[in-house]
């Protein structure tokens, strides 16, 4: 008897937990998922934004949910939706995740909402065009809105460069190699390009662009991975760790690169602008920031180039949400992409505030005045190109990443052959979408 009673108490307790979790709400609740792409207490910052928003919009509650890395965020949301779950209402996901979600019919285009706005045209044209590229499909429909955007950029230890007699950063690959070699010692790497750690494609893309041919175009059924430019680009990256000897063979790990730079163990690094604030705040030397050096395609601007990166705001709806809910969701998206928030977010983290007006808004306006480095990241956008995205993005990106890793670690010595094989697999997959 006794024991039955205890079991009953247990179940009652458990039932209480469940009902507690499902507290009734009259408000419209917006489930907002974000990746912890920043270490500056992203949760605290989002809570502050949510409080500001809720004050302006009584009746709407923002439920912010941390959802891991970008990959974790994408995977948990897909798993949730494919398992029949409700999923988020709004999420920050990589700008390249567009087709993964559009193919499945999980998201709706922002275009619908923009069209319904009185000043929709002005709203969209305030964003930097390069940052819109990944959010627009081949028909010209806007799907997602830039939020925490970035590009790879060159960080250099200006003190070390000056010691070695260089008072300006390298502007092309030849200078890059020269300076890197001059600054390499037993204790220090001349240049770290973080292509190790599971995600070489992004850094690699900047070299492909600098060699004159991005691996992706506006057509999501086409990938250019075995062109002479694509092959030359990967061979150059590989040589940094082998023949040229300015960094570790196989490339540096993503996470360790800024730490090594801050500790003075790397003279120059390629890394994301999303890291600008951490590096500026943490360095005890003068931090220089410059465009990624131009490649053989030329210094007239065509040889510069980096992919864009970072996260956009996506709106989730399978057709079941009411007009009221969707309006509330759009308000939140508008709020997060407003110049005020973009300015605050950009100044706090170093992400490139994505609309022009944000740069004239405080606190970013003063911060950019104080640190010219912020403006460099923004100005590089004029040379930036689309980040890799296609149909079946996850699978194809996987093929490209694995191929790059096998070339960079020396497993596949013949880069052309490995890339031809990869291109054949990719074409096979994309043929299904024609």
């Amino acid at each position: 008897m006794n024991h039955q009673i205890r079991v009953m108490i247990l179940f009652t307790l458990l039932a209480l937990f469940v009902s507690g979790a499902a507290l009734a709400h009259d408000d419209i609740v917006i489930d907002f998922y974000f990746p912890s792409a920043t270490a500056n207490d992203a949760e605290g910052i989002f809570q502050r934004y949510a409080d500001m928003f809720q004050e302006e919009n009584p009746g709407i509650t923002i439920n912010s949910v941390f959802s891991g890395s970008y990959t974790d965020t994408r995977n948990t949301i897909l798993t949730e939706l494919q398992g029949g779950g409700a999923g988020p209402d709004v999420a920050v996901m990589l700008s390249i995740d567009l087709y993964s979600f559009a193919e499945e019919g999980y998201i709706v285009p922002a275009q619908t909402f923009i069209d319904a706005m009185a000043d929709g045209g002005a709203y969209i044209s305030d964003f930097f065009p390069a940052l819109m590229a990944n959010g627009i499909d081949e028909m010209g429909t806007v799907w997602s809105i830039p939020f925490q955007r970035s590009t790879p950029i060159l960080y250099y230890n200006a003190d070390l460069l000056a010691e070695a007699g260089y008072d300006s950063p390298p502007t092309n690959n030849a200078e890059l190699v020269e300076i890197a070699q001059a600054l390499t010692t037993d204790e220090r790497d001349g240049l770290l390009v973080p292509v190790a750690g599971g995600f070489p494609i992004w850094m690699y893309q900047s070299f492909a662009i600098a060699y004159g041919q991005n691996i992706v175009s506006d057509d999501p059924t086409k990938v250019y991975f075995n062109t002479p430019e694509a092959v030359a680009a990967v061979e150059f990256v590989r040589s940094l760790g082998t023949d040229l000897g300015v960094g570790p063979a196989g490339g540096a790990a993503w996470g360790d690169t800024p730490v090594a730079f801050l500790a003075g163990q790397a003279a120059m690094i390629y890394h994301t602008t999303g890291n600008l604030s951490r590096i500026l705040d943490g360095a005890d030397f003068e931090v220089g920031v410059w465009y990624l050096p131009s490649g053989p395609a030329g210094e007239d601007g065509t040889g510069y180039g980096s992919p864009t990166g970072g996260g956009n705001l996506y709106i989730f709806d399978d057709g079941s949400k009411s007009k009221e809910e969707l309006d509330a969701i759009w308000k939140w998206v508008l709020f997060l992409s407003s110049p005020e928030i973009q300015s605050d977010w950009g100044a706090t983290t170093g992400y490139i505030a994505s609309n022009a007006t944000a740069w004239e808004t405080e606190p970013l306006a003063s911060r950019a005045m104080e640190y010219a480095q912020y403006g460099v990241a923004r100005d590089q956008l004029q040379h930036a190109d689309k980040e890799f995205s296609s149909y079946a993005t996850i699978t194809i990106q996987g093929i490209i990443n694995k191929t790059l890793e096998s070339i960079l670690t020396g497993e596949s010595e013949d880069a052309q052959a490995a890339m031809d094989a990869a291109q054949a697999q990719i074409d096979g997959i994309l043929a299904e979408y024609k």
Binding site: S100, V259, T395, E411
Partner: protein, 305 residues
């Protein structure tokens, strides 16, 4: 051997079933039925191409499995590596981790000063969340700023790219696993050793048997059951433990340190690959099942003797 009173009411017939029902239902719900569903799903392939979202999957027979064993296929190449790595990883855990656990148990079984501290030193890793253990080791193995290379460099060695070198990445993951598990295995061996009566050693000593002889002729045979048990659980664990990869290189360059279950986890999100995910799951379950049944038979035979 029925111990109940001779009343054979309907209820007393039902009793055993009622007692096992909760466990049975839960196992059916969360292990058996999903596994069966996995088998049928592995024979299907989700619709692909434009507007595939609402379409039903096609029956493809064993095509998914054929693709997995085709090395020129994009998933086949990855599967082959992950499968091989998983076997190497499991064998290394068993071949190195289990003897190490036994050695530790022998060293720390008898009374000695600070025995608790010694045991703590080797057992604490198994108390850490796998993901926490992995994050500690990600710092140790870091190429440019890690502890291992700091030590190597101070000894004049240029350092190793532990997680970034395709020839070292799997070894690094194995080291972490052995460090994490050896103390856990030790606990089982300590338990087993407690069941061996002291006096048999005393008589062996009188007969002039050396420590090594005693170990070979007395300890090892008496620990046989424990040894089998530990081998089985270490093997099963080895197939299930993948969370450390989340913090340790996410499978290494070109899958050189990827494990089967983590490859499955990496691919669950894209619908087009679900056929492969399910087929890989079946292969994984098949290996574990075969191994466990083989051992179970050994156990039972052992018990019969």
């Amino acid at each position: 051997m029925r111990a109940q009173s001779p009343r054979h009411s309907f209820f007393s017939h039902l009793q055993p079933y009622l007692l096992i029902a909760p466990t049975l239902i839960l196992v059916l719900m969360f292990n058996v039925l999903p596994a069966i569903k996995t088998v049928t799903d592995s024979l299907h392939r989700p619709a692909r191409g434009l507007n595939a979202a609402g379409k039903a999957p096609d029956y493809v027979g064993l095509q998914n499995f054929q693709d997995l064993f085709d090395e020129s296929h994009y998933m086949g190449a990855r599967f082959r590596r992950a499968f091989r790595n998983t076997i190497v990883f499991a064998l290394a855990t068993v071949v190195i981790g289990v003897p190490l656990g036994l050695l530790l148990a022998l060293l720390l079984n008898h009374k000695q000063p600070l025995r608790g501290l010694w045991r703590f030193a080797v057992f604490y890793p198994s108390l850490l969340p796998l993901i926490g253990a992995a994050s500690i080791w990600s710092f140790i193995f870091s190429d440019s700023i890690g502890l291992a290379n700091a030590v190597l460099k101070s000894l004049g060695h240029p350092g190793l790219n532990w997680l970034g070198d395709r020839n070292l990445a799997l070894l690094s993951v194995i080291i972490v696993n052995i460090w994490k598990q050896a103390g856990y295995f030790m606990i089982f061996f300590l338990a087993g050793l407690q069941h061996i009566p002291r006096d048999i050693y005393e008589s062996a000593s009188l007969d002039g048997a050396s420590d090594l002889q005693q170990f070979a002729s007395l300890t090892l045979p008496l620990l046989r059951r424990t040894l089998l048990f530990v081998i089985v659980i270490s093997f099963i664990f080895a197939f299930q433990t993948v969370e450390q990869l989340q913090a340790l290189g996410e499978g290494g360059p070109n899958d050189s340190a990827n494990l089967l279950l983590y490859l499955i986890f990496q691919n669950i999100s894209e619908r087009r690959n679900w056929g492969y995910v399910n087929a890989m799951t079946i292969v994984l379950i098949g290996v574990v099942l075969t191994f466990t049944i083989a051992n179970f038979l050994l156990f039972e035979r052992d018990e019969g003797n």
